[in-house]
């Protein structure tokens, strides 16, 4: 009987969330009367409901796309195949190294903390619109000669010269992919937490981006860490600088802090609900990690 009760409760729950029955969401009963006669004289005679003048009255509507002799819109422009799928392509709004340096110098960004999209958006000077196909920031090489900061940064796209500029100063750079839903959470975390929804799990990159993010040359977040440390040396030789040892750095912990491939926020895991009002972290016992913990205890 348990399953019956369960389904009854489910049905009740569904009923509660459904809207009331009202004029806007009901339709005529099946087989209800439909008037097939066209009225005469005062009984809906006159125009018979077809309106006055024009296509409506004469019931001779133009074919779709016809513009009464104008050059129709769908024929007006020549074929432009190079724009095919442009509305689906991922965009990466640029930030230059100069901009980043200014943000650091003016204390908009703390260089003692790892920098990611949330940090950049929280500076209040940079915006990201995931709904307009913006998939994160690309770091450009403008102001490369004046860049002097030692940072741990995560962007979505970076050129080789930019990677060299950051590593030369003893910093660390990673390129990482975030799906639009995760980006939405990152751009404005407090707004996301106010929704009372668990932190989403970061999805894998799409097929055409997988190659980029698994490559150690691009410092991709899915690349092998050993490969990356090798590529760091290679790049140092190519650009002719001595690679600072980050192992001896006082900020070593900060520099090597990396997110998991499924993680969105530093220190927070997917599946947690954050209560900002009461400063709570709420976890579900059904999360695999929590289950493992309980098994250990018992």
């Amino acid at each position: 009987m348990a399953h019956l009760r369960e389904s009854a409760e489910k049905a009740l729950k569904m009923l509660r969330t459904l809207p009331r029955v009202q004029l806007s969401n009901i339709r005529p009963n099946p087989n209800s009367k439909k008037n097939t006669k066209r009225g005469r004289a005062q009984h809906s005679g006159d125009k018979h409901g077809a309106g006055n003048k024009g296509s409506g009255q004469r019931q001779n509507y133009m074919r779709l796309g016809y513009e009464t002799g104008n050059n129709p819109f769908y024929l007006r422009f020549p074929y432009e195949p190079y724009y095919k799928g442009h509305h689906l392509r991922r965009q990466y709004p640029p930030i230059s190294l100069l901009q980043l340096q200014v943000l650091l110098d003016t204390n908009r960004i703390d260089s003692k903390q790892p920098i990611d999209i949330t940090t950049l958006c929280n500076s209040g000077l940079l915006r990201l619109q995931p709904a307009s196909m913006e998939y994160g920031f690309q770091l450009t090489d403008e102001g490369i000669d004046r860049f002097k900061a030692k940072i741990c940064i995560e962007v979505q796209h970076a050129k080789e010269s930019v990677i060299a500029a950051i590593e030369r100063n003893g910093g660390v750079i990673r390129t990482a992919y975030y799906d639009p839903r995760s980006l939405q959470a990152m751009v404005n975390p407090s707004k996301w937490f106010e929704k009372g929804v668990p932190i989403p799990k970061r999805l894998l990159p799409p097929q055409d981006a997988v190659e980029y993010y698994t490559s150690a040359k691009n410092r991709g977040y899915l690349a092998d860490p050993e490969e990356i440390s090798k590529e760091r040396l290679v790049l140092a030789q190519k650009y002719g600088y001595e690679l600072p040892r980050i192992e001896d750095d006082p900020d070593y912990e900060m520099l090597i802090s990396q997110k998991d491939a499924r993680q969105i926020f530093y220190g927070l895991e997917p599946g947690w609900v954050i209560g900002l009002k009461d400063k709570l972290i709420i976890k579900s016992k059904s999360l695999p990690e929590e289950q493992a913990n309980r098994e250990e205890k018992s």
Binding site: G196, V197, D208, V210, I282, S284
Partner: protein
Amino acid sequence: MGSFVFIYQRKVLCTGLYGLNRWNKAQARFFTTELNESESQDISRVPNQNKSRLLNQNRNVLLKQVPYSEPHSWIHNTEKYQRKIFGRYGLASGIDPRICFEVKERSDNIHNASEQYSLQQLLSMQKAKTIAQQEAVERRESAIAAKLEKLEQWKLEMRNKVAKKEADALAAKQNKQRMIEEVRRHFGFKVDPRDERFKEMLEQKEREEKKRQKEAKKKAKEDKMMARIVGSTSTNAHS
């Protein structure tokens, strides 16, 4: 981040009556306050505390409290709304935070819809794609190279063809000129080529020419035949 950590488990069984639990609690609170007040003083004499002329729900929003103490719309019973209320007003809203977690089967569906392939699969697919592209480029390049090798030969053939066509045209023209000259010589004076007599004569000449060619052809054929017959008889005689 959090001062302490709550751990809840959400089961399908206990999701059904969230709204009811919450509203009952609210009503109960209201009931107790009413009792206390009736003990102390008459309700009608209590001065109205809300002088703002705002609606209660709007005033609550202003004071950062839960806007509605009872559901006023079917929307207030939806999971989405209740999650939002918990997210915004915290534990004080009286909503069970278990509602924030998705039921497992539904979350699995979402996961499946968004991620069809594993990383390894994606990588191998991408690799196959790049290899296929490279192969297509190589195939095209080798085809072009093979054609380039023959290019000189084709050029020569083309030139020869054009030269032959020109030579033929020139020969035909010269022949015609010769015929006209002959006709003129026949008449002994200069005749207009558009003249009837001239045309007749030219036709006759052409016919003769054709006949001569035909005969020459016939003769050549006969000669050939004869040669063959002679050859065969000689071989027969030999054998």
